[in-house]
């Protein structure tokens, strides 16, 4: 049996056993939390206790948590919820060029509905600078949305410094913290933001559940309407069992984050040292200074990242290129392009993202396979050049 190595934790993570257990136990509690009877009340109590745990995880009050179906819905709700509630005050929104598609596509939709969007460019290192944000703020700006850490490069943005610029002008600030949750601690007070998105499955929780934190007093309009769930901000019966899992995973993450980070740093160092020794021609994209240690975005000049990923997959190793795509069309990563890379360079990149269950042996195996693939691809590309 071929060895299997999963290096794609920024895409999703396996569910922690403790989380499974909590979810299994929660299935007994099947009542609708909105119901008046005992069954409903018991579920409601468990739901509110879960809300409190999720709130604690990010330093918030539990009444500020809106459970959603995940990061994408949280981002959608933040952008549409704020835009429609504050349209009377202005129609200008600022986001960055390196946002997740959940934010990018929301912004595109809002642009088609009469809002004006400014796309803030990062430095070549992938950092969004507060002074650059200050330059594009206008009197009619109502919202800034900048991600806390980038999913493709792992770059950590100076959110507190960015948010203060917006807040000084009374502009709301949203951050997509989906990749940060579980990897670095999050405190909404210290960040000084107004809205923040997280998702359970990026931190060893179940898929299909996430949350939008909205600072108390900030008005947003609901996107899904119906019953009065989530304080009239997100209609629909709560995804109860998954929410219980989400809460459990928040508790676990708080305990394990520090040990995880040390481990990721060691894995990352070993992988980079191995690459230097065995594959001379490569580059790490995005700054190494402000970065989640679990993420490495690597370019191989002149090679096709997709071919590397397939080669690795055939040997049982899972890595990613840019963001997951289902249509079959190969598009270069918009994040790497925003960092000033050419289309060809961007297509020659792969993303390695470590997780809790990875070992030094996993990195050894990766380092025993990758150089052979790189060698094969180089030999072929040389041949093609010679034929031409």
């Amino acid at each position: 049996m071929k060895r299997k190595v999963y290096f794609d934790h920024n895409a999703t993570t396996p569910i922690a056993p403790e989380v499974w257990q909590a979810m299994g136990e929660a299935t007994a509690n099947f009542g609708n939390p909105s119901s008046i009877h005992t069954f409903g009340r018991e579920a409601k109590v468990a739901l509110e206790s879960a809300r409190e745990k999720v709130a604690n995880f990010i330093g918030a009050r539990s009444s500020e948590i809106i459970f959603t179906s995940g990061g994408t819905e949280a981002d959608n709700l933040a952008l549409f919820g704020v835009a429609t509630a504050f349209a009377h005050r202005g129609k200008h929104i600022i986001i960055s060029q390196i946002e997740h598609h959940a934010v990018l596509e929301s912004a595109h939709r809002l642009a088609s509905q009469g809002f004006e969007i400014t796309y803030l460019a990062p430095t070549r290192d992938g950092i969004l600078l507060p002074e650059e944000l200050a330059k594009v703020i206008r009197p009619d700006t109502i919202l800034v949305s900048i991600m806390a850490t980038n999913n493709e490069t792992g770059t950590i943005q100076p959110i507190a410094d960015l948010a203060i610029i917006a807040r000084e002008k009374g502009i709301l600030f949203h951050t997509d913290a989906v990749q940060q949750a579980g990897k670095r601690s999050i405190n909404v007070i210290e960040l000084g933001v107004d809205l923040l998105s997280i998702s359970a499955h990026k931190l060893y929780g179940p898929k299909g559940v996430g949350a939008l934190w909205v600072r108390r007093g900030v008005k947003i309009n609901p996107v899904s309407i119906g019953g009065g769930h989530e304080q009239n901000r997100r209609a629909g019966t709560e995804n109860f069992v998954s929410i219980i899992g989400f809460a459990r995973v928040c508790e676990l993450a708080a305990e394990r984050m520090e040990a995880d980070e040390k481990k990721f740093a060691a894995l990352s160092e070993k992988l980079q040292a191995g690459l230097k020794e065995k594959v001379d021609d490569f580059r790490i994209n995005g700054t190494l200074e402000r970065r989640l240690p679990n993420t490495l975005n690597i370019s191989f000049p002149g090679l096709d990242g997709e071919a590397i990923i397939i080669g690795l997959d055939m040997e049982g190793i899972a890595v990613a290129s840019g963001s997951a795509c289902t249509s079959g069309a190969t598009e270069p990563s918009h994040v790497l392009m925003a960092l000033g890379m050419s289309k060809r360079e961007a297509l020659g990149s792969i993303r390695v993202s470590f997780g809790r269950e990875n070992t030094m042996e996993d990195v050894d195996y990766f380092l025993s396979v990758l150089p052979l693939i790189v060698k094969r691809l180089k030999a072929l590309s040389k041949e093609i050049v010679e034929v031409k």
Binding site: E306, A307, I310, G311, S327, A329
Partner: protein, 364 residues
């Protein structure tokens, strides 16, 4: 059995899915690849034909089969080379007054060339497709030979005349010895969701079958001009030469008392010439891009059975190589509506001797 890695091209249809799964079930190492060749939103027409090639649904069908049979499957983007080698060629051939055969071009330039380049990147030694045809090594001829499928009603060797020896050596056609009914039966036995999927005989990137719409949208030039009647007089106007093919009767909107047909399309003057049936029967034509498949290239003339379109009957002819990658083909008896742009394929029994693209019909 060979342990060489095989790349199986999988459109998501029943044939290529069964072909890939047959190889995997024999224990051969397989990787499945669905080529993303074009996009409905870019080729226009009716985009709600979800089961067709290159739709998300067909990719999912291929993937489901691969997962069931335990081999990897990838969707690879070939939109650029496909556009260049097949779609652009298709449009420009129509504008040049010819009737192209995009499946031939796709096999030559995409499946057995561009896809092969990728196959090598992954360490694959062979490519397998769901074509109904056979490839064998002939000791006697000391070369690879291409043969018709056992199921003659499904035979696709006509589309494969462009294969070189090197390409044949690395090609597998797992369905060559099976009938379509057997393939479907096999698909059901393997519990493949696609076993009873209806098949399409339209050109994949013109899913609504409306070639004229496709060409006019893609080229967007005025190709209208005069229609000349059988007596040499102008009888009207047409809205684009790409709307016509040699031998076509319908769609002219003009009455002559007895049937008239398109005899010739002159792209330079954008003129369509009509004639009575008798004038459509010709004996000789020139092919370009000549390729000899199963035999060493002959120095002098050679007899063969020649097919001038996919569904045409083979007719005896003599092929005279002209030495510059072209040949003259002379039928024993006149043939109706020899059409430039279509492929002429030379057979000897089951054997595909070679083929080429019809360049020009020679007037007697």
């Amino acid at each position: 059995m060979s342990k060489d890695l095989v790349l199986a091209a999988m459109s998501g249809g029943v044939d290529s899915t069964v072909a890939a799964c047959l190889l995997a079930s024999e224990g051969r190492p397989v990787i499945g690849v669905t080529m993303k060749l074009w996009d409905y939103s870019k080729v226009g027409g009716d985009s709600h034909q979800d089961g067709r090639c290159c739709s998300l649904e067909s990719m999912a069908d291929a993937r489901q089969a691969a997962v069931r049979f335990g081999f990897p499957h990838y969707v690879l983007d070939f939109q650029e080379p496909f556009f260049e080698a097949v779609i652009s060629d298709f449009a420009s051939e129509y504008l040049a007054g010819r009737t192209p055969n995009p499946c031939v071009q796709c096999n030559r330039f995409i499946k057995f060339r561009a896809l092969w380049e990728r196959a090598r990147q992954y360490g694959a030694k062979k490519i397998a497709t769901g074509h109904y045809a056979r490839v064998e090594f002939s000791e006697e001829r000391e070369r690879f030979v291409l043969k018709k499928a056992v199921d003659l009603s499904r035979d696709q060797s006509y589309f494969l005349w462009g294969q070189t020896q090197k390409e044949l050596a690395q090609t597998l056609f797992p369905l060559g010895n099976m009938t379509k009914a057997e393939v479907r039966q096999k698909g059901r036995e393997m519990e493949l969701a696609v076993a009873d999927k209806p098949e399409s005989r339209e050109i994949c990137f013109v899913p609504d079958g409306n070639y004229a719409r496709f060409v006019s949208e893609h080229v967007g030039v005025d190709a209208s001009g005069p229609v000349i009647g059988p007596d040499g007089r102008e009888v009207g106007e047409h809205t684009g030469i790409y709307r016509y093919t040699i031998g076509q009767r319908h769609g002219l909107g003009i009455s002559f008392g007895r049937p008239v047909y398109v005899k010739k399309i002159d792209p330079a003057n954008r003129t369509v010439y009509l004639a009575y049936d008798a004038e459509l029967w010709k004996r000789a034509f020139i092919v370009r891009e000549l390729n000899w498949v199963s035999i060493t290239p002959p120095k002098k003339e050679i007899g063969a059975s020649v097919r001038i379109r996919y569904l045409a009957k083979e007719k005896p002819a003599t092929i005279v190589p002209l030495g510059d990658g072209s040949a003259e083909v002379i039928f024993d008896a006149p043939e109706r509506a020899i059409t430039p742009g279509q492929s002429a394929v030379f057979y000897n029994g089951d054997l595909v001797l070679g083929g080429g693209i019809i360049e020009q019909v020679i007037d007697d």
